[in-house]
Symmetry: D2
Subunit: 234 residues, 4 copies
């Protein structure tokens, strides 16, 4: 039987990127002056104006490709973002998946002390933490055992995978632009600079924060304007 790995984090790596704050300014400026480079001193002001007045299209002339390794329950939320997002994910039909499963760290809040509609989380007791980790690991291991047993009987990947839990890791290539990334961050991070309320699940926020870091580095002026304008996509 394959050795099983338990992981407590997500992976997001930048594969390729195009564009930056200058590309935003250039695209915005074609409105006014055709194909001339914007005055460098005016880029910040221009981007702030675009963000504030919700001119979103100049933020689309760029691209990021990421490689991500996340549990299936995270990728399911992620792929609900349709506009300006492209995905290619590891197939459970064409290949045998990897024996890697998500088990939260001890400091991941485990208990919902709010309601279903308005969840508020608090850390579990040490007993709850231990029991959660133990039950997840056991359940994942049992499912993996059945998966391999079915494959061993000649059953097709696509049938055998039915037993695999949504806590198993999957891998994907993802491509998005600055506008779609800002829309994603708006919903998948909880941040005091935001003017709206969002309730991202902890694990997709882990992925979103990694994307945010890369985005902030590539588009520093846009990122600042995004934060200063309520973290809402223009």
């Amino acid at each position: 039987m394959t050795e099983i790995t338990f992981l407590d984090n997500v992976t997001v790596e930048l594969v390729d990127a195009m564009g930056g704050d200058l590309s935003v300014a250039r695209a915005a400026q074609v409105s006014l002056r055709g194909q001339n480079d914007p005055d460098p001193e005016k880029i910040t002001g221009l981007i702030n104006y675009l963000m504030r007045e919700k001119h979103g299209s100049p933020f689309e002339h760029n691209a990021f490709t990421f490689y991500a390794k996340v549990p299936i329950f995270v990728v399911r939320e992620w792929q609900r973002h349709r506009i300006g997002w492209s995905y290619n994910e590891m197939s459970g039909r064409y290949t045998k998946l990897s024996a890697e499963f998500y088990v939260p760290k001890a400091d991941r809040p485990l208990v919902n002390v709010g309601t279903s509609a308005k969840p508020e989380f608090s850390a579990g007791s040490s007993v709850q933490v231990a029991e959660t980790q133990e039950r997840l690991e056991r359940s994942y291991s049992d499912a993996w055992f059945e998966y391999e047993a079915l494959l061993g009987q000649g059953i097709a990947n696509e049938v055998a995978r039915s037993v695999l839990p949504v806590g198993i890791y999957t891998q994907m290539y993802v491509t998005a632009n600055a506008r779609s990334i800002m829309a994603f961050l708006s919903l998948r991070t909880k941040d005091e600079r935001a003017t709206h309320y969002s309730r991202p699940q902890h694990e997709i926020e882990l992925a979103a924060r990694k994307i945010e870091e890369i985005f902030a580095e590539k588009f520093p002026i846009t990122y600042k304007a995004y934060n200063e304008n309520g973290r809402v996509s223009p």
Copy 2:
């Protein structure tokens, strides 16, 4: 412990619909004559022409809303269709899921006798069928037991669900138009009238065939033209 149900099929029901072949013809005809009703005798010819020459937009002025109950591994493939598709799916964060799991019928081909890249399926032996059903049911039941145990310890839905397998049923509302439905059928059915090759998984084809039936009834002329033009979305 909740009683567990094993199901071997998918549910797709029509909730609401707008438009039909006439709406296709009307939209196409605004090109030529503005807001006049098309000659009824010419609708078939017009729709055939649109399909053949890949004028896709007239097939978008309509809508279907479906309620679907399918396993998670089916909904994962379904939601990869981004353009012209809207989804709202039962949340494993806000609610406890239902104890309903997918176990294939005896006649569902179980064994891949092709390659990974080009799977070809054949029925399994009676032993393989029995073992598959038994292993799936046992694995599902074990996972459900751990899920309820975690919830019983006060662990949040969104954490406990990590153990649930992709064979569990989920529910969703789905809205699409005739054009996006034809694109979906092109990839999610295998059909000898098609000019291209597709390899849909059996279970999403079950859902696609239910959609196809509803679509054929609401858009009989469009559906006929679709089949006669190689089952490719215009």
Copy 3:
């Protein structure tokens, strides 16, 4: 020569519609309780919650088809809305266009007293109004004369139309859903209930206000929540 008509307004008529506030609530509720009808007394609260927390997808399970007759410069702005919008427009290649042109009413503000980037309009003097109307009518008439002359020489529609001004009317079928309509209204109306600033051109706002009226009638609860939450699409 064809008689020329000068119009000072736009036409937007509802052709077909599907769904309403109940469809929003139902789609939202599948998250929690599967396929059960929502409690009628709770629909308003539920829709407010969706709007406030930016859960946009439940507003997509519906559709409106409109017939619109507007000048080309309006349709050019309109068709920049890509997501959740479908268009079929009268073709200047396949048909001869109609001799209908837009001339603003006397009360349409004509003079920009702001800057290019932040236009603020004031009414023109009576001389400016008269001169504008006269110049537009003469210029339109001259262009139409050349258009017909070219067609009369056997020149193809698609070449002859090059001389037609963007003030000529065109016709189209348009389909959108409540979410895409709210995004359109956010940018194409200027409204004191909005929390952001928008600068729609007067003529597309004429069209947007007609859409808004139809939308408000079909989705009264959603429309109220939209206004109370800053007229931003969720």
Copy 4:
């Protein structure tokens, strides 16, 4: 009065680009083997397979930004492409447009000898050519004169532009990916390697051929597979 320029061609220049055939292969391969580079000898076979079986998503992890200068009647057709296309166009509201107008070359076929629905073009006589050029130039000049006269009276850009013809040039930034470019080429070029019939207007085909050249250079293997598989987007 501003000097008027008559042009007989379109401009499409590459501003920025990301990705190539390798990015297609990598994205496809994550399905099978996670984040490993594909075997260079197998890239061609893999891309052919993707094209043939209509796996479109691997062709989305890349981007092209173009600067285009084309007449308004071309940009109107271009912007009908909604999916995977981003646009920022010169604004006739915020700026005064440039006095550049499209007049076809002598060898542009001018006469439709087919029907409206199935246009077939032939070259015009030398008289037709001369008359077309003369009428276009006169009509454009008259329209420009009225435009400047209105601006000179203090009338706002957005009102004065109503008289400008669709033959005037506009400028834009455009961003798209390989998949959306192939869909564009399918409809906007007429090519004997295509398995379907398309009827692009001559002037948008001029732009499409410039895009095709850039695309072919950046994605040579994909481009070859596209041609060999009927010039249909996967």
